[in-house]
Amino acid sequence: MNHEGEQPENRLRRAQGEQPESSLRGTQDEEPESGLRREQDELPENRLRKELPAEVPAQGPGFAQSVEDKSAPELTGRQRLAEGLWPPRFTRAQLVVALLLFGLGFGLAVQVASNSDSDSALRGARQEDLVRILDELDDRTQRLEDEKQGLDKQRQELENSSNQAEEARKQTAEKEKQLGILAGTVAAQGPGITMTIEDTKGAVQADMLLDAIQELRAAGAEAVQVNGVRVVASTYLTDSGKSVDVDGNKINAPYRFKVIGKPQDLEPALNIPGGVVQTLEKEQATVTVERSDKIVVDALRAAKQPDYARSSSQ
């Protein structure tokens, strides 16, 4: 079709002004030459002629045509808007769009309302956010738990220390009692013996009584009183005529010793051969030793505050 339609043109051209070229090309084959010619011909003329009218409408809807539409007086966007807005027309399109917009507005309002609800701030949260919040809460719980444990520990320590203080106070009181028994400031009771020395001739002297006391102490006597006088570390005995002074208190026969200690130890200690009992009996004094389960040593001695000696422990 084209071949036949264009060949007269080509031949015409060749005939008109392009002889030298055709003579150059003449060495080549006829067919490709004509094909080349046709392309060359089409490039400047035919394409322009054919494609320009085709391309203009292709660009039209984008720019050119809309410009034309705007320039047309009745079809401006603004006018279309006003037209669509004011006279309310119950067309199908309007109703359908209204329905959809109703849905949009509804969803929008619902979402905004549920989002601004402070009560259900977590309701709209995403799963990841919820997990994160949960993690944070877990962390916080953990921290608070740790803090609680620390405080518990502290409390326990304080309780322990107060318990220890209580214990120390108890021990101190206990010690005070023990020391009081030793110092003779408190009464004491317990198993022990009673030794009575009858001395009708006044032959018993202070050193014999002192020997008896030493012997009792060596046998483990813990509290001793003689005729109502407590015997302590600083007790001294002196002769005073036919009687004896104990710590400045005059005591007369019969000398009655109340001794708290282990009776099984105390009695044999007094009765050993050449011991206290035999020595006293040599002086014609009568000695009776009785064991007893309950001896009460109730003679007291006033506690004396030392003038110079101070405790060196705290």
């Binding site: 809309s66 539409d69 079809l75 401006t76 966007g77 603004r78 279309r80 808007l81 669509g84 807005l85 004011w86 006279p87 309310p88 027309r89 119950f90 199908r92 399109a93 309007q94 109703l95 359908v96 769009v97 209204a98 329905l99 959809l100 917009l101 109703f102 849905g103 949009l104 507005g105 509804f106 969803g107 929008l108 309002a109 619902v110 979402q111 905004v112 309302a113 549920s114 989002n115 309701r123 709209g124 995403r126 799963q127 990841e128 956010d129």
Partner: protein
Amino acid sequence: MIAVLGLIVGVVAGLLVRPEVPAVVEPYLPIAVVAALDAVFGGLRAMLDGIFDDKVFVVSFLSNVVVAALIVFLGDKLGVGAQLSTGVVVVLGIRIFSNAAAIRRHVFRA
């Protein structure tokens, strides 16, 4: 006009009724709303261009909503729900802005 009335009535109804959003729909509602907004802006632009077609609008509106919800749903299932919904919002936001620019050119000629 009817369409604008529909929007206003919808907002008022949503504010007045305050329905409890079902937990299943809850994550998809905001994305669906944004997608619908995109469709609405697109429709407005088309109307100003004079090529508005109600059928196209309905289809684009519904498909926008469904696709947006679907993407979020898929993201939730894949464990990238937050990122995907952010992406969807960004894309829709860009579209809304470009549509709004076209509308602005029509309405204000600037």
